[in-house]
């Protein structure tokens, strides 16, 4: 068996980039050396170890040029929709219209990490009374105020109700800064009671038909708002075509996840997988290119799996990871201490499930929206985690908490208890702030101990 392919630092990427260019690398328009992103402020790259493939280069460049893409879209006269909180549904609708681009302003929560707080976004949020007791999504407020990261969307939507309290509070503060928001209601998903019709949702959850109808109706309001903003009808035909294109991205991710999580040798680092999975919800503001980026990454992973090549030692402990991390460096840390990610639940597993194509589009979108793990009980979420952890052969589970994110307060404890009871895996909770440098030793100890517990 060959030695693991190295995960490389930014300095090593400088040399690697030159090698790839010399070998005839062809890049899309947003391509280039990763070093330029550091020069533009993304200093966290200096602390990361990344996959050294051309496919990974394209993925990173695609991620780190989203702002440029949005500004270019504005310059080209395209309509820009800012979708907040719903995680994967409104962008499918928006991208179904011609010349409409959607993105998640709340995605700015990673900016303080990538720029190592050099962006000042959190300071602006502090000044607005949204301090560190709130979720790091508060960085979004700073981005709206300083206008240095994305153009101000012409239409803002936000799901509320059975969603994160913090995000709702932050978005309410935003309404004073950025103009009206289309709020749409998401009920707390429950199981049908006797006498109610139950609807099976993608991913396996169920909900009463009445709740599905409510979400369909709410999404109907979003549809009308999109039509009015784009001055174009959002017909069922357009929606159906949009769903098919979104499903292409989801199918690519499903295959990528299957290979990455089940291969004997880990074929792609956790960091790149995290970024790739995120494309399912936001497409990085370009749905078509998302698919192309994923296609290339999938090709690279397939080649490695067929060759028996991996980026980590063969005996790396298989860890199922719950919740995204505020500091990307922690994904490196798990691998540094002998783990590999084998299964994830980054709060949006519903966005990885195919949207039903055999249903009327609005019904299909309502069902997928209601399948969001964050709008049901933590016990439901834990059930799915158990099922996926079994499917991918995980040996341990990490639950990563986000400081200030209220939806994580007790959820981690519930998930931990259920996972430990049902599948008997060692579960550890860790808290990951946007910059972990000061707590790296304690984080390392927890992750090392987890790996040791499995290896003993």
């Amino acid at each position: 068996m060959s030695n693991p392919l190295p995960r490389i630092t930014l300095d090593q990427w400088d040399r690697r980039y030159a090698e790839l260019r010399d070998a005839g690398l062809r890049e899309p328009f947003y391509g280039g050396p990763l070093r330029r992103h550091v020069e533009e402020g993304d200093r966290r790259l200096l602390k990361l170890r990344m996959d050294g493939s051309a496919a990974a280069l394209r993925l990173w460049n695609f991620l780190l040029t989203e702002e440029d893409r949005l500004h270019r879209a504005r310059a080209e006269g395209k309509k820009i929709v800012g979708a907040m909180k719903d995680l994967g549904t409104v962008p499918v609708m928006a991208f179904s219209l011609p010349d409409v681009v959607a993105f998640y302003p709340d995605g700015a929560w990673w900016t303080p990490c990538m720029m190592e707080s050099g962006d000042g976004l959190l300071r602006i949020a502090d000044g607005l009374g949204i301090d560190e007791s709130f979720c790091p999504v508060r960085a979004m407020l700073g981005a709206f105020v300083n206008r240095a990261h994305f153009p101000i969307p012409g239409l803002l939507t936000c799901s509320v109700g059975a969603t994160c309290d913090d995000l709702s509070a932050i978005a309410q503060r935003l309404e004073d800064l950025a103009g009206p928001i289309l709020w749409w209601e998401m009920p707390h998903r429950r199981r049908a009671e006797p006498g109610e019709d139950a609807v099976l949702l993608p991913g396996g959850f169920t909900a009463p038909a009445g709740q599905v109808a409510l979400v369909r109706s709410e999404l109907g309001r979003v549809r009308e708002a999109l039509e009015a903003y784009a001055a174009e009808p959002l017909s069922d035909e357009r929606l159906a075509a949009g769903i098919r294109r979104a499903n292409r991205v989801r199918r690519l991710l499903a295959e990528l996840r299957r290979l990455a999580f089940t291969a004997d040798r880990c074929p792609v680092p956790a960091l790149e997988m995290l970024i790739a999975e995120m494309l399912a919800i936001h497409f990085c503001s370009d749905r078509q290119e998302s698919a192309e980026v994923l296609q290339e990454l999938l090709g690279e992973v397939k080649r490695r799996v067929e060759a028996g090549a991996g980026v980590l030692p063969a005996d790396a402990v298989r860890v199922f990871w719950v919740n995204p991390v505020a500091d990307l460096r922690v994904m490196n840390l798990l691998e540094d201490v002998g783990g590999r990610v084998c299964g994830t639940e980054y709060m949006f597993c519903h966005a990885l499930d195919p949207i039903p194509e055999d249903l009327p589009p609005m019904e299909a979108l309502a069902r997928i929206a209601l399948a969001d793990p964050m709008v049901g009980s933590p016990a439901d979420r834990a059930e799915r985690i158990c099922a996926d952890a079994r499917r991918f052969g995980a040996q341990a589970v990490v639950i990563s908490r986000i400081p200030g994110a209220s939806h994580c307060a007790l959820e981690g404890a519930v998930i931990k208890e259920i996972v430990a009871e049902r599948i008997g895996l060692c579960v550890v909770e860790v808290e990951v702030p946007p910059i972990t440098d000061a707590i790296e030793p304690t984080l390392r100890t927890r992750l090392e101990a987890l790996v040791e517990s499995v290896s003993q």
């Binding site: 100890t445 101990a449 517990s453």
Partner: protein, 265 residues
Amino acid sequence: MICAGIDAGSRTIKVVLLEAESLEVLAAGAMDQGVEQEALALELLERLLKGGGIERARVRAIVATGYGRKLIRVADAMITEITCQAWGVHHRVPGAQTIIEIGGQDSKLLRLSADGSVADFAMNDRCAAGTGRFLEVLAARLGVRLARLGDMAGQSRKPAIISSMCIVFAETEIIGLLASGTLPEDIVAGVQASIATRVAAMAGRNLSSPVVFTGGVAMVPGMDAALEAALGKPVTVAPQPQLTGALGAAILAARRLKGLKTPAL
């Protein structure tokens, strides 16, 4: 052959010397932690060797554990304190199902499998309110030695209620309680109950007995009683509780010498 376990904790360094075959403890000791952790650990190691009349060359394997384990470069392997505590306590109390370890800066709860391996664990996050640091702050505020706290708590008739989740604010509460005439004995009992409650909350439900209490705080009189009250279960204090981490490290060093599997990185 002799093995050494070095536990470079946040407040103290502990060393245990072990005969590799019999697992007999030949010498053990502790000293305050400092900046030059490896130098301090080696100083303690040399002192123990000299005291026991043991030649340095007879020490064939060293495992380091604890917060500062990465700084003990002389070690052959580094293993987390979670794994080492499990091995050390299981060696001392073979039937242990649950370990509560409260050290100077953190607290841990370990659930063990029947063979003594770690089935699950949890550690405190962020605040020192559930750790020995809280007792140090209390002792300093009251102007008494740590060793006296147990006696004081035993004299309490009405333990004070410490409501703050944060050690900094809890200290403010202590000042307020003293100003309002609350007896120091009641404050000590209140703080011990507060630490125990925080650890019990980390334990959650389904705690299996026997529960073994270890770590430096287990040496503070009265803390075991406070834990028993908070958990609603009997608690056994591990023999030489401050040393169980270093003992586990030494046992794992012995296993490495014998070519047995260890989780060392």
